[in-house]
Symmetry: C2
Subunit: 219 residues, 2 copies
């Protein structure tokens, strides 16, 4: 069970899960984020990387807001900030993992993959290893599978990698990065702004990996 956003990181996670021999089921979540292009990218990435199935969940997080990604009255920052950024979506990974856990339980799967990584967890609380371990504990208590003696593992293969490491790993595994969308405010065609935090980190990652950046940018 792979959480697939349509970005570079989760695409690499899907490729890693496949390379480890897992039959992969990809889940994307439409939660009122600004750019539907990310979800189109997820469907294409799932197809390219041979996911056995792909589901798109819908959750109206814009009903509660609280983030630049779900409340369109909060601007996406275009300069680096310290602390937890306004693009933090309250309880997002808890929600995503809960959705993934539900589908995993229906399928009888016990392995969840999520593309949290070192660059993210410097700012987002729900990208830290202690959060992930706590979710595994919860999952065993929350489910019929857990009561019956099963357990769930949340795989975070990127958690200690830099963006450049992730890009190199994805490239080795054949990820088509041109199909992925990382930008917080991509346009309808999936073209990146080139200015937001996510664009900046991605662009620096390709440079540090010594690879050409295949990202499609807005004019």
């Amino acid at each position: 069970m792979v959480l697939l956003s349509g970005g570079l990181d989760s695409a690499t996670v899907l490729a890693i899960a496949r390379s480890e021999g897992f039959e992969t089921y990809a889940m994307s979540v439409s939660y009122g984020q600004r750019h539907i292009a990310e979800l189109k990218a997820a469907a294409e990435v799932a197809r390219q990387l041979g996911a056995h199935a792909h589901r798109q969940m819908q959750v109206n997080l814009d009903a509660v807001g609280g983030s630049a990604l779900t409340d369109h009255s909060i601007a996406v920052p275009e300069t680096p900030s310290s602390g937890i950024p306004v693009t933090y979506v309250p309880a997002r990974n808890t929600l995503f993992l809960a959705l993934a856990l539900g589908w995993a339980e229906v399928l009888g799967a016990h392995d969840l993959f999520i593309g949290v990584n070192a660059v993210d967890y410097s700012g987002y609380p729900d990208c830290r290893p202690e959060f992930i371990r706590s979710f595994e504990t919860l999952a065993a208590l929350a489910t019929k599978a857990g009561v019956e003696g099963g357990s769930f593992r949340v795989h975070t293969p990127l958690i200690q990698l830099t963006k450049a490491d992730i890009i190199r790993r994805g490239a080795q595994l054949g990820v088509d990065f041109a199909a992925t969308v990382s930008c917080y405010q991509a346009d309808a065609q999936g073209r990146a702004c080139g200015r937001c935090d996510s664009c900046r980190i991605r662009s620096e990652g390709f440079a540090a990996a010594g690879m050409a950046d295949p990202t499609r940018y807005q004019a």
Copy 2:
């Protein structure tokens, strides 16, 4: 932050939270359950009991199925069963609490209320006290509020009560049980089938409490 299903239990929880002096925010979740009547009841209950605000979240759990409540090809049982019933929705309370946690964080609230109870947790893994405690641990790790030193409490005022106890407590606090819908397969007008597990437990609760059952039943 009160999770409000439209049933008898969560209505009582909302009344308890108000009686304890909390300003209450009620959240209901439309997750592909069979009866939209339950959600209409939630809105009415929130209004009657003076919730400061009420939000309805939408999640398409029917995309993953796995329960008689979300997969309409699985029949709702009309005789008592042992073990975890087919009306169990995989990871439902994890999901509901994740949604409530997100809104709580946006509001700066630290108290979540959920109407799990003894009758439920005999069958549903995510109604057990150890699940609730584990979610509190997770919530502190998952959130910006937690990183900043805050914590979350998940209140479960019904967890040790029988259905009759809950009904007596709700009645004391002025809950209009006729406005609540517990039935797993209520009709569009919110009238109960009188045959499913949930109807049976509710009906026996009124009898045990020595109160007239105000439930509106189908002809």
